[in-house]
């Protein structure tokens, strides 16, 4: 989904700071009860009840190949509504260590993402913002949670 909005939600996974276009984010909520679905891969944490809606909850860090960390007081769930690259409409909850703020990032601030030599994640990074050494990676969230990829992973772990 392309829009003219320059608003991004920033969040932290481990030490790194990421940003995704705010259009994909319906809201950010605190952790509640999670019901585990058996026989599912580890990063598929289960399902949650969001005011009468049932949403799958995915561990963003595990999905990106990072080590998952324990839930803290700051842990949050981003409720995402994304049209994935394989053209499916997906509503999911994705965990983040810290949800920060909504910021404006103008297009000319965004630099092309360099080829990371020692990239710790498989995150699809589409750009980098460097504000006086404060680095924010812009992530293509639609690719992270493309259904076919999620399913493929799901199958292989089964």
């Amino acid at each position: 989904m392309k829009t003219d909005s320059n608003a991004y939600l920033t969040f932290a996974l481990g030490d790194e700071k990421f940003a995704i276009p705010v259009d994909h984010v319906q809201e950010v909520v605190e952790f509640g009860q999670v019901t585990k679905v058996p026989n599912a891969p580890l990063y598929m944490l289960g399902i949650i009840n969001l005011r009468g809606r049932v949403l799958p909850l995915l561990d963003t860090k595990l999905k990106l190949g990072l080590t998952s960390t324990d839930r803290t007081k700051k842990s949050r769930i981003m409720v995402l509504d994304i049209t994935t690259t394989d053209d499916k409409n997906l509503q999911i909850g994705a965990t983040v260590d810290v949800a920060r703020e909504v910021v404006e990032i103008s297009a000319n601030e965004i630099q092309e993402a360099p080829e990371f030599e020692n990239l710790k994640t498989t995150a699809p990074i589409t750009g980098i913002v460097n504000r006086q050494g404060d680095i924010t990676l812009i992530m293509d969230i639609t690719r992270v949670f493309s259904v076919s990829e999620v399913l493929e992973l799901n199958r292989s772990l089964n």
Binding site: Q33, T35, K36, P38, I47, N49, G52, Q91, L151
Partner: protein, 674 residues
Amino acid sequence: MLSAMDSNQKRFVEDALDLLNELDEGLLQLEANPQASAPLEQVFRTMHTIKGGANMFGFENIGELAHHLETLYDLVRQGKMPVSDGLISITLHAFDKVRDLLQEKDASKIANAESLKDHLKIAVQFLKSVETESASSVSNGSNSAITKDELATFFIRVSPTISMTPDGNHPLVFIIQDLEALGTAKTFCYKRGDATVIHWDIFLSTTTAQPEIESYFLFVENECKVEYSKLLASDLFSSDEFRQFIEQFEAAPVTVDVLQEVVKKLAATVENKTEHEAETEEPNAAGKKKFNDTYIKVSKRKIDDLLNWISELIILQAQLVNATSHINSVEITEVTEQLEMITSRLRDTSLEIGLVPIETLVTKFKRLVRDLSKTLNKKVNFLSEGAETEMDKDVIELMAEPMIHIIRNCIDHGIESPADRKMMGKSEHGTVKLKAFNSSSYVNIIISDDGKGINRESVLKKAIERGLVTADAVLTEEETLSLIFHPGLSTASTVSDVSGRGVGMDVVKQKINDLRGYVSIKSTPGKGTSIHIKLPLSRSIIEGLLVKVEETRYVVPLNVIDRIDRISYDTLIRDNHVNKTVVVNEEILPVFSLRKKFHNETAVPKTTDIISVTVNGVKKGIAVDRIEGKMQTVMKPLGDVYQHQDFIAGSTILGDGSLALVLDPARLFQLSEN
């Protein structure tokens, strides 16, 4: 230039697609009864409506085509030309093109489409040829203009020679209705104990001549016997005495002799009464018959929204009961009980909103059977029963393709050529039958044919050739037949245009599985094949047993549960989630332990509850920690990402806001087989 459709155009397209279905239905009826006026009027009216709408919303090309075809049918109405195969075919094909075109999202593409031009040309040429032909045939009078006879009252007794019910979908039932529409009519239907028809007695006063009435039965000659008696060359219904006289036949049929006697006496009083009465009534009676219920068109989104709100209301209501359970107040209890009753009614009604009769599919199938049997030079009757059975609209749409495939197979592989059938002592006409009915929370659809059946040996041979089964495998009949659902197995020895590409029955099965339905097949060599599809009535409501394993709650659908027993946990064999040696109720039951499969075995309970279920005809058990109670609830899908956890049918929100997982027992057991 790209132009999106405005809302009026969108509505036109929706309406037009419905109208095209009606048109198909009318055309097929007209083809079966070329002399009948009711389908002719319907066809004419429907085309007229399509024309009007198309012109109004900027699709003049569709309007023009409809206009020319309408002109042709107007000639038929005026008796200037007969209904011919050619006419029906060019109309069907032309409107097929329109239907294809209307799938287009871009309005200007529809309006500027060239594809209708050919059909327009054909229609115009057809008109020209008819005009020259009728000009030349006026002199010799050979054209079959419909000549109207004088008004007369007939007594017609129709005795079906095959077993049918009056509310069934046999063409005969519609023929009777068509007859009634020819004038003033009174019909009595006499039934046997099992509701099948012995015969219909129809009193009909009409201007239609007897040969024409007889022509109505042309295509069902083999399925019924019809006796005609012309009672009087006048309208007996204008006599009160006659009307009262025939009322008594409600209880028992009359004999023709008695009838003639009475009519003779009445004749004097009836003679010379107004003759045009019956005539004016004719078109009205035909038009009204269909609309005894009124309908409005509502967008799917609104219904979905409504259902969503209602399901949240149900959840809130359950939470309220929970929250107030400790308050000892008669007033509150009364209110919560009332609320519970009303929400449950609201839920039942709302569920029905989304259901539509499968009739639309049946029309599609009639058309398919007609076209296919012509292509393949086979004679095939299509019978349907229970077309009024209702199903979720989405499910109907999803089932169209698989069912079309099954019917194709029936005609292509099942039904033999007329010559072969004759040789085998069968009627030249094969029959494909669709039967739909409800059973508990399922809709059943049985598609059967009376063709040659499936050759088990050749299925097995092919399966061995392709390495699907080993050569020494011993398979039951059922197992052998179910091999046809295996990907890549097609038994047609030559690949035909129609079916037999080897993709097919496995896709059919997959689609039905996706809808959480079941499919089974029976076949008798020489006698035919029958495919039974069983689909859940609603995809969202579930009645079940709430159970707990460790801290997780599951719901087991109630409709598969036979009994519940409590046994000691130690009875289950350690390290094995499927136990084949558990004895419950003096029977050995394979038991699937949810705890052993999905949870850990620390702090195991002393006892375990065994829920005995029957899935696909086999008794099995599910072991849970304990049973918490019965519940009826709205099931919500887990979402696409949990597609592979298909043994969980969905989830449901409990009174305290927590979630329970709804099990799909059949798929749960599959999990242990793989």
